[in-house]
């Protein structure tokens, strides 16, 4: 009986790691729910120009919370379609916009840099979503975008879409090594 309990306890502890994957936050609280804002670098934006607001400071801790939750990454995938990121970036292969599933990152591959690209916009057509998307949804998008190049573990990255199968599921993609991160590592003494 004691052995059974010990086995049970250790299994539960081991599996606690899995719990973060299933964490679902519907109401992220006032801080995360406030709209993401940064000074737009691109005149292209959805809807009307947003009124200037306090810039939201990207926090890596916020990212990790979303990157470890399969639900949040799934939300990122839903928003990627809903906000028409597919229109320019397709399902990661790029078209009008650059590919997101490869190792090339024009404006940086770090999560904070992807966050900034979305909120500020970028030259040559990446719209600025400043004032249009709450912070937590930008983080969900960032997490999803990172999954497109295989950065997320297999059990958290989304599986195949209920869409026409034009690309491999994010969980099956090989992990890309972004060149800017490699350069950073080389630059370190």
């Amino acid at each position: 009986m004691r052995y059974a309990l010990a086995l049970l306890l250790s299994t539960v502890l081991l599996l606690n790691a899995g719990c973060k994957r299933e964490h679902r936050v519907f109401d992220p609280g006032a801080a995360q729910a406030s709209v993401a804002y940064a000074a737009p670098l691109d005149p292209v934006h959805p809807g009307g120009p947003s009124a200037p607001a306090a810039p939201s400071i990207p926090s890596a801790r916020a990212l990790s919370q979303y990157e470890q939750s399969a639900y949040a990454v799934g939300e990122g995938k839903r928003l990627y379609m809903a906000f028409n990121c597919v229109g320019c970036h397709q399902h990661g292969g790029g078209g009008i916009g650059p590919a997101l599933m490869d190792a090339q990152w024009i404006y940086g591959s770090h999560p904070e840099q992807i966050y900034a690209s979305i909120v500020e916009g970028r030259p040559n057509g990446m719209p600025s979503f400043a004032g249009k998307i709450p912070e937590y949804q930008v983080w969900e998008l960032v997490a999803y975008v990172r999954s497109m190049s295989g950065q997320l573990p297999e059990d958290i990255a989304p599986s195949r879409s209920d869409e026409m199968p034009v690309v491999k599921a994010e969980q099956a993609r090989p992990k890309e090594h972004p060149q800017d991160q490699q350069k950073d590592r080389k630059a370190q003494p």
Binding site: G48, A82, F83, K132
Partner: protein, 330 residues
């Protein structure tokens, strides 16, 4: 059959026992037939059981020896069981034929001239379209389906994500909305009124709050309503509503909602062009008034956790102006 559900405080606007159209009526007749037959059979069988046990019951502490079976009594019993099985079969066939008759009666609506309404199931709201062969006459709305009284309606439906089920019990049985399939449901409403329906196939976090209303009106009222819905939103007339429109266009709203007559054209969430003409918001959950609308916009997750609408941190005056503008969208 309403006696089955008769209790004070029951409004009767989401029940199969209060039919307002031929669909639900035919079903209710078969229901009543099956109810009476099965109730009588049940009472008889239980009575026979109880009486048999009562008559043959011996209160003994020890178990008596098993008794030999008697050929005569078993013969009589065989005849009675044969009769019982025969009666059961006849009753089952009666109920079966009644069921087939109801199906056929309902199916006659398939051949009538029908007004087609397209319904798309979303997680967790209903997109409703009144198609027209002239594009500018098409109507897109959400969660509220107006129909003319006495006219056959074809609900042509599919789902945009998971399986939902379109069910307005006062009017007709349910029909699933399946991704990859188109399903048809014929219905007709004979009495004007508002009838509530609810999604009847588990569809995720907010399945419990996915309701809609069928609003049955006279043909004239319906035509008037449809013409109103065909129009784009009028330009705002007051400074407050003008600012409200600005708030709408410069905040997250444009990412998901359409208001025809403005540049907002996203199809992710319900079409808001005639939001103020609807009596409920949040898929039939809340009455459509200022307070509910403001609370919903501010933090829909408090009200319907898991739904697709994010919180919006608007300032008090922005929110007031936005709501004022939305209330002009008749």
């Amino acid at each position: 059959m309403m006696f089955l559900a008769a209790v004070p405080g029951f409004s009767g606007d989401q029940t199969s026992l209060n039919p307002v159209g031929p669909g639900a009526s035919h079903i209710e007749h078969t229901f009543a037939l099956i109810f009476w037959i099965t109730a009588v059979v049940y009472i008889i069988v239980m009575a026979v059981l109880v009486i048999s046990i009562w008559r043959r019951h011996h209160s003994l502490d020890t178990m008596p020896d098993p008794q030999p079976t008697s050929a005569e009594s078993d013969q009589r019993a065989q005849r009675m069981v044969a009769v019982a099985i025969g009666v059961t079969t006849v009753l089952l066939f009666t109920m079966m034929i009644s069921s087939f008759a109801a199906s056929r009666a309902i199916a006659t609506m398939n051949y009538e001239q029908a007004l087609t309404i397209h319904v798309f199931g979303h997680e967790w709201w209903w997109e409703v379209q009144y198609p027209s062969d002239q594009a500018w006459k098409s109507v897109v709305t959400a969660n509220e389906i107006h129909v003319p009284v006495g006219v056959t309606i074809r609900i042509h439906g599919t789902s945009r994500d998971v399986i939902h089920s379109f069910w307005a019990p006062n009017v007709q049985g349910k029909r699933d909305l399946l991704p990859g399939y188109d399903t048809d449901l014929m219905l007709k409403v004979d009495q004007p009124g508002r009838y509530r329906g609810q999604c009847a196939e588990y569809c995720g976090e907010q399945h419990a709050h996915m309701a809609f209303y069928i609003v049955a009106q006279s043909q004239d009222d319906f035509n008037h309503w449809l013409q109103g819905q065909q129009k784009s939103a009028p330009p705002p007339a007051t400074p407050q509503t003008l600012h409200g429109q600005q708030v709408f266009l410069t905040h997250a709203c444009v990412m998901c909602h359409t208001i025809r007559g403005t540049t907002a054209g996203s199809r992710v969430g319900p079409d808001l062009t005639h939001l103020a003409s609807r009596t409920t918001i949040a898929a039939g959950m809340l009455p459509n008034n200022t307070a509910n609308l403001a609370g919903w916009i501010l933090n829909a997750q408090n009200i319907k956790p898991g739904c697709r609408m994010p919180p919006n941190g608007l300032s008090g005056s922005d929110l007031q102006d936005l709501v004022a503008y939305l209330e002009t969208l008749q």
